[in-house]
Symmetry: C2
Subunit: 303 residues, 2 copies
């Protein structure tokens, strides 16, 4: 993993200094960056996410599903920090095959989710390219200093996930059924993220975009801890492998003081404890007592 | 121009409602979106800009020039609204040919400009793709309600540009010399933008990214006016055609009350009057009394 995404991000991060007094509260390495405007009662959360033809989707996908998913991924990052979405921007590069019908469908899907989540589209950029490529920017807010970060977990904290894992990976493999719908139409857990922040007192949170094994490793690294986990809830029909390493579930992974009282579900979405944060080699994850390799989706693993 | 970029943007814009009380002050159609956080003394400016291999740059360009230019384009949008850059985010999709040396060079160029302009890199996204593609997000601030917009020009206002036009187009054609340097290393006019807002009382401003003829048309459309212009300052060696229609000069185009006293230059950069805003068909531009076709760079003209 000499050239893994984590390494590359770390190399970039080391070169960036956050000037004190600039309003930059949190930089590279979490779901969102955090910025505080002068005098503001709320902090701003900002995230960007790319969706690329033949990497994240294909020309055969319905345009409105692509538009929906592009925004859902960004909204999920806002959810992961306990924020409220406020608006979005979209940069869209169009391939020659993507005519005005495709473009209309893309914006229809995106704007439907934007309207539902109160995240109006305020701008972006347009260009042509060989392949379609979309970069979404979502901006949210959170009360000053209250964002849920990856680096807040403490030794002894309980580890939880929402929902069931592996559904998106199963859907991608099958290309049909409920799992496929889930792959195409992920649901950003906005209300849950807000609940974790304001009611449950979560110490850390992130969204599961690249697979539990890799994402939990990232949370552990940020918090300087290791983790011991057992089998998470598995999406009906999915394999344990898909649940442990499959990407794009967009459920929330979060930590809480061990004594916290956690409901079994939130608005119909199950919340399940899957383990405990421990002192130990930062980033190490044990599953049923055996080291778990971070096999989740890494754009840079094989570079 | 049935499918031009302007038409497409207008079609998208019509579908987006800005919810009152959401903090969204200005949406699609200007250099930046404007957002006001609760209680904040300053407004946020946000802009995104894509830079795509074989559209905006080639694999033979130096990586650090590409990184510099990616950020410079976004900073220029902040300058156009009279803002101060505060931070940036970068989404980068890497082609197979772009190894770690290229990546390091890209970030070196970008971070050098980011450090100079106090716009630290706070985040972004990384992916692989067939071609390199970068989407930059720059966030700036401006005192509450004071952003320079495209829609503020009044009939009778004088029209000005900074610097000389056509240099970037000349450089692209020649591939060497001062004009080529200018094409590779555009200079965002941050200090000038701030001066226009706080000292000169400019009524409208925008940056010249797609050519004077097209960009002035956009300013006229936004302000509901027409314009009469004469020959603008031409970059040494460039043709009048390049000055009128060539893109990527990143100079500022701005309007002022006709009686405003404007210095001949600002920090060594010439400021020249090139015409007058008029009542008349919105968007119509006359050059020496003859209608000027908007021939500047439009990604969607020939779709």
């Amino acid at each position: 993993m000499a050239n893994s995404e984590l390494d590359l991000i770390e190399r970039i991060r080391k070169r960036v200094a956050l000037p004190p007094g600039s309003g930059a509260i949190l930089g590279i390495g979490d779901d969102c960056a955090i910025f505080r405007a002068r005098g503001a009662a709320e902090d701003l959360l900002l995230t960007t996410d790319m969706l690329i033809e033949d990497v994240h989707f294909r020309a055969t996908h319905r345009a409105q599903d692509v538009g929906w998913k592009a925004l859902a991924r960004g909204l999920s990052d806002i959810a992961a920090m306990g924020g409220e979405p406020r608006f979005c921007l979209v940069s869209l590069a169009l391939a020659p095959w993507a005519g005005s019908r495709w473009v209309d469908g893309f914006y229809r899907g995106l704007l439907r989710l934007a309207a539902r989540e109160n995240a109006p589209l305020l701008g972006g950029d347009l260009a042509h390219s060989d392949k379609c490529m979309c970069d979404i920017v979502v901006v949210g807010t959170v009360p000053r200093g209250r964002a849920l970060r990856r680096d807040g977990a403490r030794a002894g904290n309980a580890i939880y996930v929402s929902g069931a894992l592996g559904g998106s990976a199963l859907g991608l493999a099958r290309g049909r059924g409920n799992a496929w719908k889930r792959h195409l139409h992920p649901e950003p857990r906005i209300a849950l993220g807000r609940f974790l922040r304001s009611e449950l007192g979560a110490t850390a949170a992130m969204d599961l975009s690249d697979g539990l094994s890799l994402d939990l490793r990232r949370l552990c690294l940020a918090s300087g801890l290791s983790a011991q986990i057992w089998t998470p809830p598995v999406f009906p029909g999915a394999t344990l492998e898909q649940a442990m390493h499959g990407g794009e579930d967009y459920e929330l992974l979060f930590t809480l003081p061990a004594r916290a009282s956690v409901p079994l579900e939130f608005e119909g979405l199950p919340l399940a404890r899957i383990g405990t944060m421990r002192r130990g080699r930062p980033g190490a994850v044990e599953y049923d007592g055996v080291p778990l390799a971070p096999l989740g989706y890494d754009h840079f693993r094989n570079v």
